[in-house]
């Protein structure tokens, strides 16, 4: 059923009984043209664009749990295009453009809200760095405004401007950034892909690969073997484990990132705010809870839960920025596992094995990339060549030295 004012009205007068399931709970067929492993936002978006843009409709998405149960269901919902390096800006801006048309494209309310993102600066060198980044963004047609202290104070009067160690001097404002409802994105892509004939197979864990000589020719799963002309991996957090089944070692470590939600309060924070002197970012959900996070725990983990030092560090960052949150209670916190790459940037590429394609290394920036990641990964799978917007995200860049180190912190995952 296509969602519209009329469908709402029809259901309103008939007791909400006309709604149909948003997608079929498919059983796997023996073979597909393409199988995407991983039913998160990236995997579903890939399947959707494969069907929509490249006419590859004989596609399955296999997911070990239920769709969206991984990082898509546990992130902090921020979307933005405020990157500074040539390899990154076109990709994230393309993602932002896709976000802007996503709900119309999918006929689904993903609650995309361009409420703005403000990166605060606290020193002269940081102001210069943000001015440079803002200029790089504007040269690529991305919006950016450098605000001074008084402009920030007008927007966010409750911040601690006179903090003794890190007084706020201003901020870089990216008005088109904001938030989107993470589950809505997953459900929207699932429904739209399903309508194009994509099979979404849940509770189906991949346990190995089918090979024809060197070629990857499908996947072994808990629901039996599924042959495929092409296999794409979009399994953030578990990329190394899947790649190891194919005999590949990746430039990836899995790390846990914690995030937190406070109890619900009245509207306080209009957009997304980031603390430039430490690592803390916060927005307010439409239910009223403050959603915030900071650094990763910093050591290899598959545990989907973090440890207390980072909880303390994140809360200290929040208190330094806006002491008024000190009396808020923490409603819940959670940990997601992400595949941290060695340079902090993603990989969308063919693998060294024919028939196997990689979408990995999103570090903790995967959510905002969902639409463009799917778009570019579908292109790579369908055409066997990188999409121009993701041409820098090659796997061999680590061997050739073409790293994309947005933070400039070195080749170590826990620094990104």
């Amino acid at each position: 059923m296509r969602y519209s004012f009329l469908s709402l009205l029809a259901n309103a007068v008939t007791g909400q009984k006309l709604w149909s399931a948003a997608w079929r709970d498919a059983k796997p067929k023996p073979a597909y043209d393409a199988v995407i492993v991983g039913g998160g936002g990236h995997g579903l978006a890939t399947a959707y664009y494969l069907a929509k843009k490249h006419g590859v409709r004989n596609v399955a998405v296999v997911e070990k749990g239920w769709i969206g149960s991984g990082n898509a269901g546990r992130n902090t919902t921020i979307i933005r295009s405020n990157y500074g390096l040539p390899g990154n800006i076109p990709f994230y801006e393309w993602s932002m453009k896709l976000w802007e048309g996503l709900e119309r494209e999918l006929n689904y309310n993903a609650m995309v809200s361009q409420r703005g993102i403000l990166n605060l600066y606290h020193s002269d060198p940081q102001r210069d760095a943000y001015a440079r980044r803002g200029n790089a963004m504007r040269l690529h047609g991305v919006d950016a405004e450098l605000l001074d202290r008084e402009q920030v104070r007008e927007m966010l009067p409750f911040l601690d401007f006179d903090n003794a160690r890190f007084p706020i001097q201003g901020g870089l404002l990216h008005r088109r950034g904001g938030t989107a409802r993470h589950d809505g994105v997953v459900w929207g892509y699932a429904r739209a892909a399903d309508r194009l004939g994509v099979d979404i197979v849940q509770n189906c864990e991949v346990t190995g690969f089918i090979r024809d000589g060197d070629r990857i020719a499908g996947v072994e799963t808990t629901l039996g073997p599924i042959r495929a002309g092409k296999v794409g991996l979009a399994v953030a957090g578990n990329s190394s484990r899947l790649a190891a089944m194919a005999g590949l070692r990746l430039p990836i470590e899995s790390h846990v990132l914690q995030a937190f939600v406070s109890e619900g309060i009245k509207p306080l924070i209009p957009g997304v705010i980031t603390f430039g002197a430490g690592h803390f970012y916060v927005s307010q959900s439409d239910k009223g809870g403050l959603v915030f996070g900071g650094d990763i725990d910093g050591y290899n983990s598959y545990a989907q839960r973090g440890n207390l030092p980072v909880v303390e560090d994140v809360c200290e960052g929040g208190m330094a920025l806006m002491p008024l949150i000190g009396r808020l209670r923490l409603l819940r916190g959670w940990g997601g596992i992400m595949d941290m790459s060695m340079d902090g940037s993603p990989i969308i590429d063919r693998s060294p094995l024919p028939g196997l394609y990689l979408n990995t290394g999103w570090c903790y920036g995967g959510f905002k990339a969902t639409p463009a990641s799917g778009w570019c990964f579908a292109h790579a799978i369908a055409k066997d060549e990188p999409h121009p917007a993701a041409a820098a995200y090659r796997l061999d860049r680590f061997a050739t030295g073409h790293l994309i180190n947005e933070k400039g912190v070195g080749a170590q995952p826990n620094l990104h």
């Binding site: 190394s240 070692r249 990746l250 430039p251 470590e253 290899n300 030092p309 680590f398 995952p413 826990n414």
Partner: protein, 98 residues
């Protein structure tokens, strides 16, 4: 998470800095395949889900480099010894000739 430092006893993870996988060893720069070997050394990781040998620096304590065995699925630590006592060659400060 508490790490049982062999010198200081069990201490909060707060006191430590993580370096990463302890099983990678620095290749011989004079070897004919040095470029590929250094790429693998610097970038490629096994990244196991389960027991993991890793290096931690006890900067908030004895300043020793430790080789810790930790389960990445549970965060349970089953062993910690000085890295200098093992055959790892990674961040061996004692070997600096200057």
């Amino acid at each position: 998470m508490r790490i049982p430092c062999p010198y200081c006893g069990p201490r909060d993870a707060h006191e430590f800095t993580y370096l990463g996988d302890a099983t990678v060893t620095r290749p011989d720069p004079a070897a004919p395949d040095a470029a590929a070997a250094f790429h693998a050394y610097a970038h490629l990781r096994d990244n196991p889900a389960g027991p993991h040998e890793e290096l931690w620096y006890h900067g908030g304590g004895c300043r020793g480099w430790l080789r810790v065995t930790r389960d990445t699925l549970t965060h349970a630590i089953t062993g910690a010894r000085f890295a200098a006592d093992s055959s790892v060659s990674a961040p061996s400060v004692a070997k600096d000739p200057s």
